[in-house]
Symmetry: D2
């Protein structure tokens, strides 16, 4: 299941140390202008080596669009694209071919498929997400035209919630060969009323599935989220009010912009929790395929915290889900 | 989008005050014995009126199976079923036809479709979930045969985490016409290694989508969930160990039974956060379709806390996702 | 796979001698008025006993709509419906439980599922199609509003192509305990330009799948169909011309209203070939589950030719496909 | 809708004169050995320039596999691939940018999307099928392992049914600047009993959809097909018999290997009708976007008859459908 979306569908492929990552974005409406430089910049935000404590692997991540555009305009046909894997030190991983690292996908993928590409995590690598970001960047062009803006920011790293102290916390953990997780908040502004398809395609259900499919994500919430559990009904109420332009809005946004599974016109607000990077820069206790303990010291290049790079991934997934639902909404009336 | 699942698909229908709720469970393997009494008991657990602070609406919720079985055995054909809506006081809702209640689906559904069934929330009512529970109860029969057990329990109600005090907290809120949310923990035991379909069909993504589609749910996490954000990599590590029976397992379960999007054989552990019931038993500030304020005092019957009734819904959704993935897994090898 | 359609999806259920046939039509746009009498009349056209040489089984086939409508208008929610099986002589089929009849589904269904409902063909019975006709009748309401008309007629019965002689041919075959097949032509008029989703969702591909899923259908063609194989390019050419209203049309319609997988505004014309009814009204050579020959004389009620009853089924399938594609087309542009 | 298949899904992309054609084959089981030379040979069969009367466009059509394999074995991850478009004379098509050719997709695609890639037909070109053949060739490796063989042959070209005379007929038409259609018969041998998913996923429905999605196809039939319409039930009967190995088979195969929508173990036999190539090698009467007549003499390279090249396309589509159903069948029992 390497596809997501109903009308706007993204299918991705690629192993971390194979020839290329890539994808097909199908269902993109015709006549949308795509600025290739802007798209490349969006993809560059995700790239390795930009953030404090990030791995030194430095892919170019140059996007090659192979179809679906004519003179910078979408054709309504599928947009195929690839990003070459130019800088892969596959030999770094040779010793891992018979080894299951803790909190990695090694054991489960080998058990499921009876075979795996152990080099750099293969398809289980976060490198897989580059194809999501390319597609999300394309979707973003359409959303911008519609007045929708999607932004995200890190709101927590480890125990730290003060933005100024994130870099320090990451560097400190990295200096000890350790890693950190954290929380990203993503906001979609300008989403029209009416997106989301109850009962199983509620907007929050689709957003949750999209976010939970990102490597390392362990939790999703929208609006007041888990805090909702602690509130009384009277405290969580988003009272309606008439706006100056005659529209109806809510005075507060505990609901995070979604009610009854459908966007209500307020900001859509969600938070995504990431586990700490499983690869430590120190000896890790692994097992071989027979379950016997093996001590492994990683030689690959790994981030101490993925959150700085994950911002564009989160935004990309939000963009894909919201644009898909914008298109589906058109089918609600004759 | 009133369908969920890929091989085992559930499609549901029904408005709260229409003739019946119902569904079609397609893709159920042939030859599974279904105990109709056991199924009815599973559905009864969800029924109104069982829990403290619950509404007095007392549906019979008698399951009528219309197809897909012969002499108590599944045929491999779709299982159609209905549950009649026998006890609907539709007139209680007449005054709500031109009114948007806060934190309800009234405004968004009316805006999306240009029409809505205002009686008892129509399709946005939690009554919709009865069809999920019927289907989940059927799926549970197959899972039991496979050695999988799914259980759930309330772990938090409002600020209260002590199980003995849940009833008291609910009654207290109810006595003030107020309502409470909370958190349910669900555990799937006996799930074999290998369920889940990366990259977009990761087991946690499918479970999240299923749970987030339940009315009132605002958050989903698995394993250490949002707490993962606060942990260092070295603290979150599930070290592998060889079990006495020669299999490989993990000494701890921070990962909640899923690694790389695929079950690893440990317990699958997830937590689902519910918002407090939006209908208070006191006057609520609504607006009419023009946005003008209207004070409404609800006359329908409503729970003060949905969690006691939500247990079977959560289990049903887990059962549907896990059985679907069990079936899909069979296609991984020739 | 008891569902068809992408945005407008129909899921059906029901065995011939079970309690009821039924279905769920999801994705129907909101605000469409449904005339229940007209719907019932459309379903009645399919009913047993209307046509010459038809079986004497006389179901009422009363449509019960269970959801998705309010005061005769669609709500945008799934439309659940059932048709009770009131007149089932199940005991007529007892001797068939251990017997495979030629050209029936007995052998393949038993082999596939390890179990089957042998009574009246179970789910393999053409009675299954009643749910299609209900759904198609609902879709027809929306199409009529859009100016689309779907009609069909029998163009061949056995070797006979003269309409006046169809009844005679059927009666003659029936008098010998034999049966006939034939060809139905279906025309959709008023279909706008632009329906169909290349490359795998070409309109003809979707129509073919829908028609080939009808019991007994062995062939599908559109436009000049198999005759196209015998034509030179210069003979098959539909030259474009400018119409009086300024639109572009074709002078001929060899293409059957579809070019490049997309409707071109001309009549959509297709022909569907049906095999003769496999149940003869005389002794048939069957085998038991071990392959040993068994002579069986059928006691159930069976048509000598299904085509008169198949007209509404063909129209229903065409309606579902065309309305679905009308809705999908809305997503082609932002 | 550029995807086909349920468990084994192919998604394709590419315009005729864009950088590359390509696709993603997802759901391919793990551990299947792929012989790259054999795969290339399968793709080469489709290539331009092999057949009498074929166009002189001579693509290399070298398959580049980008993911999903390790040391020649499938990983169970999506197989991404591209075929570069090396030999595109785009300028040949400049005059067609404002012109609708008869029996082409120019008019419908422009009307649907408001934009089109006119060069060589863009995505509506039969060049699109190269991605299908690559995917089909991969599927064929798995089928061969399972004992399934798929073959096809031309059985009719224009009015000619004598195999020795096909080349002569094509050359004759080509010499007059004209073109021919014809019929291909495809046979799948060794298909196990039980493939196909009633009621909407009947094997013939899936095969029909796959074949009808091939450019130029106007008709599909299986078994006795349209001839079935002319037969009496007693003439069409495939009587069961016990085989020497104890299995049950049929003495004849009017049913074409499918009964009740499910394979019965006999050869699956289908016939696919192709219209004549719409581009004549002489002046054609077109219209411009305003509907005014324009005479166009084509300069591109075009086949006089597509059937020789279509054989591998037909086989590829059959392979994809059959393997997909082989995988789905595994989910029929617990």
């Amino acid at each position: 299941m390497n596809s997501i979306g109903k009308i706007l569908t993204l299918t991705t492929f690629g192993e971390s140390h194979g020839p290329a990552m890539g994808g097909v974005l199908d269902g993109m409406p015709a006549g949308v202008a795509i600025d290739l430089d802007e798209l490349q910049r969006f993809v560059d935000r995700r790239r390795t080596g930009q953030a404090v404590g990030a791995s030194s692997r430095n892919e170019q991540d140059r996007v090659e669009l192979l179809s679906g555009l004519l003179q910078g305009q979408t054709l309504g046909t599928p947009i195929g694209f690839i990003v070459r894997n130019s800088d892969a030190h596959s030999q770094d991983y040779d010793k891992l071919s018979d080894c299951y690292r803790p909190n990695h996908a090694d054991f489960t993928w080998q058990s499921k498929y009876g075979i795996r590409d152990h080099r750099g995590g293969g398809r289980a690598s976060a490198r897989e997400t580059v194809a999501r970001v390319v597609a999300g960047g394309i979707a973003m062009h359409a959303l911008n035209k519609l007045g929708v803006t999607i932004t995200s920011r890190i709101v927590q790293v480890g125990h730290v919630t003060d933005e100024d102290k994130f870099d320090g916390a990451i560097l400190e953990a990295a200096s000890e060969g350790d890693t950190l997780g954290g929380i990203i908040e993503c906001v979609a502004d300008g989403v029209p009323v009416g997106l989301g398809e109850p009962v199983f395609g509620k907007l929050q259900a689709q957003l949750a599935a999209a976010m939970m499919s990102i490597p390392s994500v362990h939790g999703f919430e929208y609006g007041d989220g888990f805090d909702m559990a602690t509130k009384r009904g009277s405290e969580a109420m988003d009272v309606f009010e008439k706006r100056e332009d005659g529209t109806i809005g809510t005075a507060t946004n505990h609901s995070g912009g979604i009610q009854g599974g459908i966007s209500n016109g307020e900001d859509i607000v969600m938070r995504i929790a990431f586990k700490p990077v499983p690869t430590l820069m120190r000896e890790m206790l692994c097992v071989d395929h027979d379950g016997n303990p093996v001590a492994v010291h990683p030689h690959g290049r790994h981030d101490a915290c993925v959150l700085p790079r994950a911002l564009s991934i989160v935004e990309a997934m939000a963009a894909l889900v919201i644009l898909d639902n914008y298109l589906i909404r058109k089918t609600n009336e004759l």
